[in-house]
Symmetry: C2
Amino acid sequence: MTDMKQIARLAGVSVGTISHVLNDTAKVSERLRKRVLDVVQATEYQPNELARGLRRDRTNILAMMIPDIANPFFPGVVRGAEDVAFANGYRLVLCNSDNDHAKEVLYLNALRTYLPAGLIMIPSSFDDLSAHTQSYRSAGSAVVCIDRVPRNWEGSSVIVDNVDGVYRATSYLIGLGHRHLAAITGPLHLTSAQDRLKGFKLALRHGGLKTTGNYMQQTTFDTAGGYAKTKEILHLLPRPTAIMACNDMIAFGALLAIREENLRCPEDISLIGFDGLDLTEITTPKLSSVYQSTYEIGATAVQLAIDGALDRNCQPRQVVLKTVLKIRESVAPPRAEHVARTSRKRTR
Amino acid sequence: MTDMKQIARLAGVSVGTISHVLNDTAKVSERLRKRVLDVVQATEYQPNELARGLRRDRTNILAMMIPDIANPFFPGVVRGAEDVAFANGYRLVLCNSDNDHAKEVLYLNALRTYLPAGLIMIPSSFDDLSAHTQSYRSAGSAVVCIDRVPRNWEGSSVIVDNVDGVYRATSYLIGLGHRHLAAITGPLHLTSAQDRLKGFKLALRHGGLKTTGNYMQQTTFDTAGGYAKTKEILHLLPRPTAIMACNDMIAFGALLAIREENLRCPEDISLIGFDGLDLTEITTPKLSSVYQSTYEIGATAVQLAIDGALDRNCQPRQVVLKTVLKIRESVAPPRAEHVARTSRKRTR
DNA sequence: TTGTAGGCGTTATCAG
DNA sequence: CTGATAACGCCTACAA
């Protein structure tokens, strides 16, 4: 591999000068500058990133920790992140934590000595992360939390307005005439799941409806969870006429369960998911959902990380992205009989 | 950051000894060895990967180049890759090429100077890649191609038996009684798409059926492509009773088109996809598909890369994985009328 | 078995 | 403005 010494020899200058023109770190006469650049171009020379990183105490590597790339929510985040990383000359190291805090810590430790410019992570738990990320920050790496935020997090973060998103979706259902609404939430140790439930309760309250315990079920953020909980919910009396699923995977599971119970969506039961994955377009019926731009989350996070890496006294920023309620085929007003029965009950 | 010199001082030995016990590169007396290990443990010392890489002319970084992580086919591959990489102490740098050869080359050049131990890539085209990967190989990096293989590729590769997979699926449809089959293939400049078409034609031939030009449509590997081509195909006369979609995304698009034409799957038209994504479980009807383990592809590829990195004169290996035909709800025998009409025609 | 020292390819400091 | 040169942290002959 050609190195700076060879370039220096070919261009008839010292290595210092090479470095200076490459990094624009000192004024170099136009004459030498051009000579250097020509040789660089001709030889296709590229500086060794390891040597550079070693010397500078920092690489152009960005570490990205997510729970599991195989979960359809995360690829969009990673894609957004990778795009702005690439555009700025950074590389992305991908890590799957499986929401396992131990694995997360393992990874954090293993990556530190690559001297990454930044760390973007979806924390596996609500536990205080500061202890483990502190070493990153003191090493000058920017740390950005996305999607959910651990306890006492003071650093940068990018999340969406979960409360608001679910609030608007639920309110929409209520506006349609639904009076018996159920919610299936994700694991409540995650702030995102907590906030979505909060939005649901708030909407019910504002709609003058009561929140009932077993109409709100907690499960994992996947189809299996959604399927199982929907089965339970569909046997409740009175049967809810609408379900707010706190992510799309749960909603997909719900769709399966509804079909299996020989009920129809949206005629018998309305359903809204959360995330707005592309897949919501391929189900029957097409799933209504609270859309969030995973791409933008990832892209923004990397931007914050890069900003933070470039300027060490750059203040942490908390970005909250808006969601968009996308109504497709899975919602409808409740059947007349339900409305009737409900009102009868209420007047009793 | 604590470095070897400090460890050496604390343990009362030289830095050479530290390195020796850490890398097991020379016999060290049990006494000193333990003393070193204790200090390492106490200080949580971890060697700087950059310095190590610089010195050894190789890092524990694996570069992974795929078209687009947001496409549901690839996350599984990446997950498999990341798991075995992590298990062996390697890190994965993720690159999205967007099937753009220029971007691919850009990435290849940018990554080289990180001295990665290996390069795993889904090549963006059939073009000869050797020129650009040669520098990797001569730098001692193992290069593995997956999913599809460029012209004249002599290195390691991991693919599935595409011909066989489609052949079996198509034969299954023929066995069910279908006589008018259509195929929607991916871009035919990709070997995977070529091979799948090959399997389709072969099955028709063996089934005594003729292949007709406009019953075989080429498009992009996505729902939009599948949707558009299915629309065309459904207006062909006689209308095919079965469609072989050469990947699941195309099949999802087909499902949409079928529904929009007020036809029913599988009653009016049978459909089989390729890939066997998890999503095939959430469509209505559940999609039959030729399953391939994306996870295993990724995992195997990284294993080959690591083997190649560990032993430079390790011979390249070509791995061909088997597919599994998964029949779910989207296939059925053709309607009686079709069979009747068809036979009338054939006897004419 | 252990220690010493040179060098991996850069960057950055400091003379000139 | 340009050129030496000392680190950066580690590995590895080679010497002891």
